[in-house]
């Protein structure tokens, strides 16, 4: 594990990442390049002004003579004009460049999201993908680090190089020892920074793990929905104790990291000492031997500025080197081929027939087979109830039919076409699906029903709402279909009860009017009357269409033509209600167990 990470680290090169960043910059905001060029000129020159200032002022004073005052005041006025102009221009450009960098970063976040929404669904249920995605997001979700951080360090790099080059030229009159010590100090500082980064990078999993543990207690305690159980089972003291232990764990790890960084930085203290001794020793010596005091001041200012510029340069390079790794990860993810496509479109206007032909399936990364050699057919126009115990793979069937997942082996045919020959998009269009967890989104009711079609047929939207019994409620809103759901976006947004939410999601299925209907446990959280209403909506929805109704409530079998019972070995029983009851198998057992108390009572009532 660590060895492969080590390799990844070695393989990584910062230059291609920077090239990619620059390419994006040119494409998305061509004005940035001339801005950066202007900035480079201004910011490259500016630091020299404060170096020359003492030289000029003290030089005039040293020279003395007549009208020294006039010459001094004139020089300072000229200085102010030049420095003020350059400084002002530099600042203006700096902020425009930085905000534009931020814009590129924020729009990139949107691109990453679009990538997530477009990729094949199997990645959605792959924890490995989300880990990668989170890391990639981290490279784009703040302005200090990652992509924007890199842009903000990159644009000031050329100006800094210009400054350093000019100052080195100016410093040629100085002892080469000073320059050597200076370079040594900068190199040692950079080395320490890089070492520190590597040390921390190598321990980032440890740190992430410690943080994750703390975050668990943080989330658990800050999530009010845990409050009831914590109180009833008196868990507070235990949680507080564990929480404290985890904080100590992270604090100790941080101590270790900080100690390492500190020890590395001692090398920098030594080189700084050397540099300082040389600078002051040599400059004092030279002044004693005839160098004017204005030059003494200038050189002092020059070296201070040069050291600062070189350190900034070093830090920038290290920063780019370090952050490039994360940004590179992010680019790699966005380049990855995560969606298939480009297949010939297959037109299907009829309702569906679905054939499972020797299908094996296990989830990617899992060793347990959900199905082995599954063979069965959902016939055209049939209403099929799929029942079974928890974990029998009922919902997995839906994921296979809709193309969210692909079979591990075997084939699925839709109206005779192999499911692998479909573009995913075309496949998704074949189904109106309703699930147990309803995700209402903060859009208008219209957009929630239509999925945001640009051209929405309001009459059909109302029809769909009417047939699930939400019509009156929606008409009651002042804004009608424009009423926004949830309060996240619009403070006047509304929210529905559980039953109403489920009805809204059925209306969505109705509006889509796809060739086939799928309902996956739509009533698990609803009361008996709401449940009965949903059953009715289902009947409305499936007129003449192939339909599948999944539930562990056997009641659904009453309004379906055929029943398929799944257990842990796959399809166990298949037939009509009457056939399966007559067979007295597993279905019969489940039906009588679940209906027992309704039944017994029935007899008592009859008595």
């Amino acid at each position: 594990m660590d060895a492969t990470k080590e390799n990844e680290q070695k393989k990584y090169k910062v230059i291609p990442v920077i090239r990619r960043l620059m390419k994006n910059l040119k494409e998305q905001d061509p004005g940035q390049i001339p801005r950066i060029v202007c900035y480079t000129v201004l910011a490259g020159v500016y630091p020299f002004l404060s170096v020359f200032l003492p030289k000029i002022a003290i030089g005039i004073l040293e020279e003395g003579g007549v009208e020294v005052a006039v010459r001094l005041v004139t020089a300072m006025a000229v200085y102010l004009l030049v420095a003020g102009g350059i400084g002002y221009g530099m600042q203006r450009l700096k902020y425009v460049i930085e905000i534009r960098n931020m814009r590129i970063r924020i729009l990139y976040l949107g691109q990453m999201g679009a990538k997530t929404m477009g990729m094949d669904y199997r990645y959605v249920e792959d924890a490995g993908f989300w880990e990668k995605n989170n890391r990639a997001l981290n490279a784009a979700n703040n302005n200090a680090n990652g992509m924007e951080g890199m842009y903000n360090h990159l644009y000031r790099l050329p100006a800094n190089i210009l400054t350093i080059a000019g100052m080195i030229v100016m410093a040629t009159g100085l002892s080469p020892w000073i320059m050597l010590a200076l370079v040594a100090h900068v190199l040692v500082t950079m080395w320490a920074l890089r070492q520190n980064h590597n040390y921390r990078y190598a321990r980032r999993d440890q740190e992430a793990k410690a943080t994750r543990k703390i975050d668990y207690y943080y989330k658990t305690t800050h999530d009010f929905s845990f409050g009831k159980d914590i109180r009833i089972y008196n868990l507070r003291d235990q949680i507080m104790k564990n929480y404290k232990a985890e904080i100590e764990g992270l604090t100790n790890l941080t101590k270790k990291l900080a100690k390492h960084e500190y020890l590395l930085s001692l090398a920098g203290v030594a080189t700084l000492l050397l540099t300082n001794v040389l600078i002051y020793g040599i400059l004092i010596y030279q002044t004693m031997h005839g160098m004017p005091i204005s030059s003494f001041s200038m050189y002092l200012a020059l070296i201070t500025s040069l050291m600062a510029a070189m350190l900034t340069f070093g830090e920038d390079i290290t920063f780019l080197q370090n952050e490039g790794q994360y940004v590179g990860d992010s680019f790699r993810l966005i380049d990855e081929q995560l969606e298939d496509g480009g297949k010939e479109p297959i037109a299907i206007s009829d309702t569906l027939e679905i054939v499972f032909d020797h299908v094996d399936f296990r989830y990617p990364g899992s060793n347990t087979y959900i199905y082995k050699d599954l063979n069965f057919t959902i016939h055209k126009g049939e209403r099929l109830a799929i029942v079974g115990i928890n974990g029998a793979g009922k919902s997995t069937l839906v994921k296979l039919m809709t193309g969210l997942f692909e079979p591990t082996a075997g084939h699925i045919y839709i109206n005779g076409n192999d499911i692998n020959d479909f573009n995913k998009k075309d496949l998704y269009r074949l189904y109106s699906a309703v699930f147990q967890d309803v995700n209402v989104m903060a859009f208008s009711i219209r957009d929630n029903v239509t999925g945001g079609r640009k051209v929405a047929d309001d009459a059909r939207v109302m029809d769909a709402l009417d047939s699930v019994g939400l019509g009156e409620k929606v008409r009651g809103f002042e804004k009608g279909l424009d009423q926004v759901m949830l309060k996240v976006i619009d403070e006047e947004g509304t929210d529905f009860s559980g039953g109403e939410r489920q009805k809204l999601s059925i209306a969505r299925g109705l509006y889509k009017d796809a060739p086939m209907v799928i309902m996956d446990e739509p009533t698990a959280a609803l009361d008996a009357l709401a449940e009965a209403e949903i059953y009715e909506s289902f009947s409305n929805m499936v007129q003449g269409k192939t339909a599948v109704y999944i539930s562990h409530r056997l009641a659904s079998t009453k309004f379906c033509d055929k029943i398929a019972l799944f257990d842990k070995t796959g399809l166990r029983e298949y037939g009509t209600h009457e056939e399966l009851m007559a067979a007295q198998g597993e279905y019969y057992h489940m039906f009588t167990v679940q209906g027992k108390y309704y039944q017994e009572n029935q007899e008592e009532m009859a008595v």
Partner: protein
């Protein structure tokens, strides 16, 4: 100031070392600056004057010592502060966690406190207000120290410099004011837009929405909204950045002007005594350095004071939250002893805080020891509310709940809670081991009882399949080896937890909603033996479950509609109970078939 005081008190309680270090750090940085302003004067004067080697060595040495020494100290502070900072931040969170767990439960469902918590959390995690505030306080301190020192130096030159500096400072603050006004304006505009952008970005990359997005082709809808609000956020920010650029440019000019004026004025002072006593070139460098540092320092000081006030305001929700009243345990002193004999609701009316309508109105009924009661009603009828009242999570507006004849609030909180075990509809398990989740403790666990309960609730196969058996830990986010359970299995653990707690009253609110029919039937059939002679209250949408119960309490529209046995209720064919029961039962009628 009072707010600042109470905050510092809190921080001091968490880590006095942190605050001491920060103060030392600010003093060091102030001292470094002052020494760097003053010492070079002596060096330059010595160089231009007698050039005594030992003095040159002394002054040069002191300057080097100051540079290198403070550099070393900075590294040392950084080392010590890093872990302290982590500790303080996390411990503040932990303090807040403790507070949340000690709060009266009713706060936890009140939207106001939910919002207050969100605001508090936003301030201390997203804006890192605690660290920022402490840093600000120490910067303000160091700024004050620096400014005082510099002012003393500059004052020795006479009033002209002070006047120049004053003008510079006023102008700079003006620039700064324009910038911060623009910031305040943009920020107010941007908060709602930013929230929208954040929401749409999260829709894009959150797992739960991905199925819907694909099946209903919502990609374009979401992408368009994201883009629209991203652009809006950037446009707003650009306005502010452009203003910031102008203001910073202005401040830049003012600083250059001050430097130029200083050199001109102090330069003149070195060549003539027309404006005051003549001074040396060494003094010139000192005064110029002091003046330049003074302008930058005072600007920083001003910014820090403003930021400090802002951060203090950010901290308001946090401080308000930490000041909330804790559970009123002191109410009852009476120890709850012995089993529950009777539970008696007497004219109980209850309204959720800030709600307009009462959820329960004039509810009266009595449950006797050992009875199994089912509560039935539509979604939102107030069934779970009844349970919360019994668990002392809310207080009734009027009426009384009595257990064994005593108002439940007259009992001591701990002993009372020991008498109740509950499985809530939205039960939660914790990332502890299975055994800890069931026993809710880490020591003195009765392993054989846990194993017995594992058998009873039907988890034996699952537990045996786990490498560490009942010592397997839940949750991947805590431990890579952590286990996960399906909804049905987790629900069984929650049921075992309720049964392990040796309470004489057991409440089961939708305990079987995630179970399949076989498991559900097993659980129901076993409930009666599992709960033994305990008093039990069930809530379920599965009407068949109420057949088991001794009596059924029907809640309709906030009042008790009926309270009777199943047989008697089924005789009233126009009642809600009959309708509910029939709507499910008719699906199980075996027409024409005999069983």
């Amino acid at each position: 100031m009072k707010k600042l005081g109470s905050f510092l008190k809190l921080a001091w309680q968490v880590s006095p070392g942190y605050i001491v270090l920060l103060v030392l750090q600010s003093l060091t940085s102030a001292a470094k600056l002052l020494i760097n302003v003053i010492l070079p004067k002596y060096l330059v004067d010595e160089l231009m004057g007698s050039r005594e080697p030992e003095f040159l060595l002394l002054f040069g040495g002191l300057i080097v010592l100051n540079n290198v020494g403070t550099f070393w100290l900075e590294k040392l502070y950084k080392r010590l502060l890093e872990s302290k900072q982590v500790y303080v931040r996390q411990t503040m969170n932990r303090r807040m966690a403790e507070k949340i767990m000690k709060l009266e439960y009713s706060y936890l469902e009140d939207p106001y406190y939910l919002d207050l918590k969100e605001r508090a959390v936003f301030a201390i995690s997203n804006q890192d207000a605690i660290s920022q505030l402490i840093l600000c306080v120490s910067s303000v301190l160091s700024g004050a120290f620096t400014l005082a020192g510099l002012l003393v130096v500059i004052a020795t030159l006479g009033p002209v410099m002070i006047l120049v500096l004053l003008v510079g400072v006023v102008l700079s603050l003006l620039c700064y004011k324009i910038m911060s006004d623009s910031m305040v304006k943009v920020m107010t505009d941007i908060i709602p837009i930013n929230r929208k952008m954040g929401y749409y970005l999260s829709l894009q990359s959150e797992k739960q929405f991905q199925k819907d997005i694909r099946l209903y082709e919502m990609q374009d809808l979401i992408t368009d909204h994201t883009r629209e609000f991203s652009v809006a956020v950037c446009d707003d920010f650009e306005k502010f950045y452009r203003q910031e650029g102008r203001s910073m440019g202005g401040i830049n000019i003012i600083n250059d002007a001050i430097a130029a004026i200083c050199y001109a004025y102090v330069g003149l002072r070195t060549v003539s005594s027309r404006f005051g006593s003549q001074i040396s070139i060494g003094s010139l460098t000192m005064y110029v350095a002091a003046a330049i540092n003074f302008t930058t320092s005072i600007l920083q000081f001003g910014t820090q004071v403003v930021t400090m006030l802002q951060e203090l305001a950010f901290m308001d929700p946090f401080m308000e939250f930490m000041g909330l009243e804790e559970e009123t345990k002191a109410v009852g002193k009476k120890r709850f002893e012995g089993p529950v004999e009777t539970i008696e609701f007497s004219h109980v009316t209850f309204t959720y805080p800030k709600a307009e309508k009462a959820v329960l109105r004039d509810v009266s009924f009595t449950i006797h020891k050992g009875e199994k009661i089912s509560i039935v009603g539509l979604n939102g009828a107030g069934k779970s509310t009844l349970v919360k009242l019994i668990c002392r999570m809310y207080r009734a507006d009027s009426g009384e709940i009595r257990i064994n004849g005593t108002n439940i609030y007259d009992y001591d909180y701990m002993t009372y809670m020991n008498a109740i075990a509950a499985v809530f509809q939205d039960y939660r398990l914790f990332n502890f081991t299975i055994a800890e989740n069931i026993s809710c403790r880490q020591q003195q666990v009765d392993e054989s009882r846990i194993n017995h309960l594992i058998d009873e609730v039907g988890l034996r196969d699952k537990v045996d399949s786990l490498q560490n058996g009942i010592y397997s830990r839940f949750g991947k986010e805590y431990d890579e080896e952590g286990i996960e359970m399906s909804g049905g299995e987790a629900q069984k653990v929650a049921i075992a937890r309720a049964l392990y707690k040796d309470a004489s009253m057991v409440i089961l609110d939708e305990p079987a909603s995630a179970l399949d029919p076989i498991a559900e039937a097993e659980i129901y059939e076993k409930f009666n033996s599992l709960v033994e002679d305990k008093t039990a209250i069930y809530i379920s949408h599965r009407m068949s479950s109420s057949v088991f119960c001794d009596r059924i309490l029907i809640i309709d529209g906030g009042t008790v509609a009926d309270y009777d046995t199943h047989e008697n209720l089924m005789k009233k064919t126009d009642s809600l109970y009959y309708k509910l029961f029939e709507s499910q039962a008719e699906n199980y009628r075996l027409e024409g078939e005999t069983v």
